[in-house]
């Protein structure tokens, strides 16, 4: 089956910043992404878990975004201001996708 090169970007960011991040993605023309829940984790600021929590201050989400390789820099530059002062890790992997017309 014919496959096409793509980049898979996974942005793990504070839940409270989700809306700001996705607004910026859409503004930058990156309209394809999926948001996955994260239920706990650990980092330099310690461990956390969403169990029983009602506060929105703690907690992350994972935004997964598949794009054409040539658009990676646009995306990274767009999200930088949101990530800058905020908690969040970004990883990029090389991927193949089917149906390139969708990205």
């Amino acid at each position: 089956m014919k496959m096409h090169d793509a980049k898979r970007i996974e942005i793990i960011i504070e839940a409270i910043m989700e809306r700001r991040l996705t607004d910026i993605l859409i503004a930058a023309g990156v309209t394809g992404f999926s948001v996955l829940p994260v239920k706990g984790g650990s980092g330099r600021t310690g461990q956390w878990s969403r169990a029983g929590q009602i506060s929105r201050a703690e907690g992350m989400v994972a935004v997964v975004c598949l794009i054409k390789p040539e658009r990676l820099d646009i995306l990274l530059e767009a999200i930088f201001p949101v990530l800058d002062r905020h908690i969040g890790v970004v990883n990029i992997t090389d991927a193949k996708v089917l149906r390139v017309e969708m990205f």
């Binding site: 504070e14 409270i16 910043m17 700001r20 239920k39 600021t45 310690g46 461990q47 878990s49 969403r50 169990a51 029983g52 929590q53 009602i54 506060s55 929105r56 201050a57 703690e58 002062r85 905020h86 908690i87």
Partner: protein
């Protein structure tokens, strides 16, 4: 459970102790204690996030609706507007006191101190709910619109804290309009104010229709919710070991007393009832756990959440719940010559 009448003859200290004991042995407090103990013992008891959120939505809806319905019943008190204003002033003013106290007593950075100050100007709606429940168990009535005062006290403290920070030098943080809207339209405020309005509009007819849902099981839900809060608070305390100094803990115990005093003063000026006075004291004494932490993550991401979350949920919330509220009842009764 002793009613306030049988208590009122006692010496204030006796009364405080007696109220504290009664309070300590009530199901809602024992549930909170169970949660803390289970967390410290590292039990895996936990509530799903969705259930915790569902219970908090229920409590906000119920408390808002009942507040609104009671206004519809008793008519709008002339003091309503004055009380709202007093709430705004308390919320905007207390961060200055908290900030000064923190800078004197603790070694927190300006940034962390400002973030903590915002929490103590604002309010904890769960503490408020617990106080209404304790008042009700003792047969003490209060102004229904105190719910609206609670809502009015959520946000002003955040503005004060950011202003404080911009003045004390470090880089200025103007609130952008997105943040402002987020704070003013945050879910808990909208639900509280909205259900207050619905209670007001539909009045006692409305209340009668849904009382079996929002009145009868209320205290039981509060029990389970406080059990969950105990679990979260206990786990937070375990994680915060080392983050929080003794001086910071001290602040977390002193500041509620200062806040309560300010609330008492304001209540006397307003001429609130005994119940209303206790509630305004409780609101002023309490520290935000929902709205302000979220706003601080957005506006002051470099401030350490472990400090303000631990202080607000781990120190001040249990203090108010277990000792503070009975103390405020006793003091208010004594002052008002009950």
């Amino acid at each position: 459970m002793k009613s306030v009448d049988t208590l009122s003859g006692d010496h204030p200290l006796d009364m405080i102790l007696s109220l504290a004991a009664t309070n300590l042995l009530s199901p809602i407090i024992l549930c909170f204690v169970l949660g803390v103990v289970a967390a410290l013992a590292r039990s895996d008891l936990s509530f799903p996030e969705a259930v915790a959120k569902g219970m908090s939505l229920y409590l906000l809806f119920a408390i808002g609706f009942k507040g609104g319905a009671s206004i519809a019943d008793h008519g709008v008190d002339a003091r309503l507007l004055a009380s709202l204003l007093a709430g705004v002033v308390l919320s905007a003013g207390l961060p200055f006191v908290a900030f000064g106290l923190l800078r004197v007593v603790t070694k927190l950075s300006v940034l962390d101190a400002a973030a903590v100050a915002a929490h103590y100007g604002s309010i904890s709606i769960v503490t408020f709910v617990a106080a209404t429940s304790i008042l009700q168990a003792q047969g003490i009535a209060s102004e229904g619109y105190m719910v609206a005062v609670a809502a009015a006290m959520e946000a002003p403290a955040i503005v004060s804290a950011l202003w404080l920070l911009s003045r004390t030098g470090s880089d200025a943080r103007s609130m952008d309009s997105a943040l402002m809207r987020e704070i003013l339209l945050n879910g808990s405020i909208v639900l509280l104010v909205g259900s207050f309005a619905i209670g007001w509009i539909t009045g006692n007819d409305g209340l009668r229709e849904i009382a079996p849902f929002i009145t009868a099981p209320f205290k039981g839900v509060l029990c389970l919710f406080l059990l969950d809060m105990g679990l979260v608070a206990g786990r937070g305390l375990m994680r915060a070991k080392g983050v929080i100094s003794g001086r910071v803990v001290l602040f977390g115990l002193m500041m509620p007393l200062i806040g309560a005093s300010a609330g008492l003063l304001a209540a006397s000026l307003l001429g609130l009832s005994l119940g209303g006075t206790v509630l305004l004291m409780t609101l002023s004494a309490s520290a935000s756990y929902i709205a302000v932490p979220a706003a601080m993550r957005v506006a002051l991401p470099e401030a350490n959440p472990a400090v303000y979350l631990t202080l607000s949920l781990g120190i001040t919330f249990p203090f108010n719940l277990v000792l503070g509220i009975p103390l405020y009842v006793a003091v208010a009764s004594a002052v008002m010559g009950g």
